[in-house]
Symmetry: C2
Subunit: 352 residues, 2 copies
Amino acid sequence: MEPTPNQKVTIYTIAKEAGVSPATVSRVLTNSANVRPEKRERIEELIHKYNFMPSALARGLTDTRRMIIGIITADVRNSFYADVYTACENAASKAGYTMLLLNSFGDRDTEKRQIKKLLEQRVDAIIQLGGAADDVETDTGYAKQVKIAVKSLPFVVTGKVDGADCNIVRVDAERALELLVEHLVYNGNKRIALVGGRIDVVSTKAKYEHFLKIADKYHLDTNPVYLENWGGYRVDKGLRSMDALFDKCHKQGIPYPDAVIAVNDLTAVGVIKSIERHGLRIPEDIAVVGYDNIDIDEIIEPNITTIDYNYAVFGEMLVSTAIAGIEGTSVEKQRNIEPNIVIRESSDIKRV
Amino acid sequence: MEPTPNQKVTIYTIAKEAGVSPATVSRVLTNSANVRPEKRERIEELIHKYNFMPSALARGLTDTRRMIIGIITADVRNSFYADVYTACENAASKAGYTMLLLNSFGDRDTEKRQIKKLLEQRVDAIIQLGGAADDVETDTGYAKQVKIAVKSLPFVVTGKVDGADCNIVRVDAERALELLVEHLVYNGNKRIALVGGRIDVVSTKAKYEHFLKIADKYHLDTNPVYLENWGGYRVDKGLRSMDALFDKCHKQGIPYPDAVIAVNDLTAVGVIKSIERHGLRIPEDIAVVGYDNIDIDEIIEPNITTIDYNYAVFGEMLVSTAIAGIEGTSVEKQRNIEPNIVIRESSDIKRV
DNA sequence: TTGAAAGCGCTAACAT
DNA sequence: ATGTTAGCGCTTTCAA
């Protein structure tokens, strides 16, 4: 009568009380075979009565599929990662998977440990956002760990891992840069600067390299001074980089750029601050654009023009790649995601 | 000789090759008993050779402790939650625990499902940040699910759950409000407004109620118009609320407030925008303060005065409460966390 | 110090 | 349609 005991209730508890075998209970639980309606009903009642929830552990021991995808990120507090993670969680959820998130704080050793943890948890696949997979030169210890992981499950990264057979899902950085440059050039800007980031990060390196490559095509007034990466991706680094750039222009008698591409939006905020402190206006004197389309872009004055990756698509692609790996479906080793430009106040001006 | 096969390697694989019993391998794995050094060494070599990682699943089946704490949050993209989550992950990690994060997107049904998922994963404890536990009136379906959960593990929330025996770790909202009011009053502000949020959220309700309670004590010029909660916690809501407040003051011939407390920092940003659009200066004409100490506070101009909860302490307290529950150590049912005020430009002015 | 064996809770043949 | 049984990979008595 009473709501029930508090003891461990397993499929045996249910089976016994329903007068059936544990297998039958399992069948209704997983809906894997027909069970006579009356029995099924009785079992379901019991399940409800006891609030019985099958152990995902025991299940995972027999099944070889845990329906869990592990994900390692540098830091969820970074809104870019938080957005991508959330998009992954949504995509995974639709496919019946759960995500297991681990932060690495950009530390290579921690990343190795996190991979180990995920392996021990027997997750079905691992997705790594940024971190070591962003390095131009992959950390060897990390690469080793990834190689081990790859033996038993699909490993998807947003960068690359030297020597390990990972799946890659990345933003088409070249295309993104071109979108930005086209927009700026179309608006009449000639002296475009590229600012911020660390050159040992794959995506940043790609930006700088591609920028040099296409400068001619767009008839830009290039100058080494217009490339200033004062290491880092946060506001203060952007501020510092831009200050340095102004300083060099001043000393070397080079005209200030009329537009600045920051490697990400946080850096762009710093760039904007620096420009304002130099008594110049945005976008009238200098246009500014960034990457990532984070919250702040719409909050700050002026709103920041940026590159949007369509997080939903990004997450979807990351997860579907992982699942394809799990299920043995074939996928291209590298998939690119199409960027879009979001034009806002910070660059919205025509120069004659 | 070769690096090895690719087959499933278990404790038996190791045991066999080392010429010992699986029990012995287990002993070195868990360091739970003495093993003769030479054997231990041989076993360790094999473990390394095969990159063997014991299955957390199988382990969890026998042990009753999984060393995993589940955590449900409304949305990690919200920096407040991201900060608290990260603090929890750090605290947990120090104690040897791993966190399993699930987003609920503020949906009560999703929250129920997430609790179920965590229960199935047999996590050792559950921490819920915000969500249904923030409701002034707990959703009954949710409460029911929590009651079930509480039977088998410790459940820690930052709000409350009617009728369920949860542990509560919350910010001392009363104290926080007083810090803000004291600061504003000390600076000579008299007409203090409280703006934003939804009154059906525990923490918001507490702010409004406590504000009324202490208004006399601080000799504030109160007026119903100075309380404006236009539902919500984001920038646009803050903007709208403040616009409405200005409007009412105007129509009713009531002087504008000289200071505004926003229920959180995002709302404060909206309030600031509204004030600027009305051609007023911050803090000269109106001082603004918020809650949460998020990134944006230092990025936006003017920098925003706010309440800081010390995330590290918050996470630590959440996790230690959960662990105390797991280990059966006694803890107070409710623990409060001490807030601090961080004074910045937006309120840094003395009125005579 | 070590091994044998039982058991954790479930699923999946294999019978019936 | 349903029951029996044998694992899944580990830990943990209990003996030796």
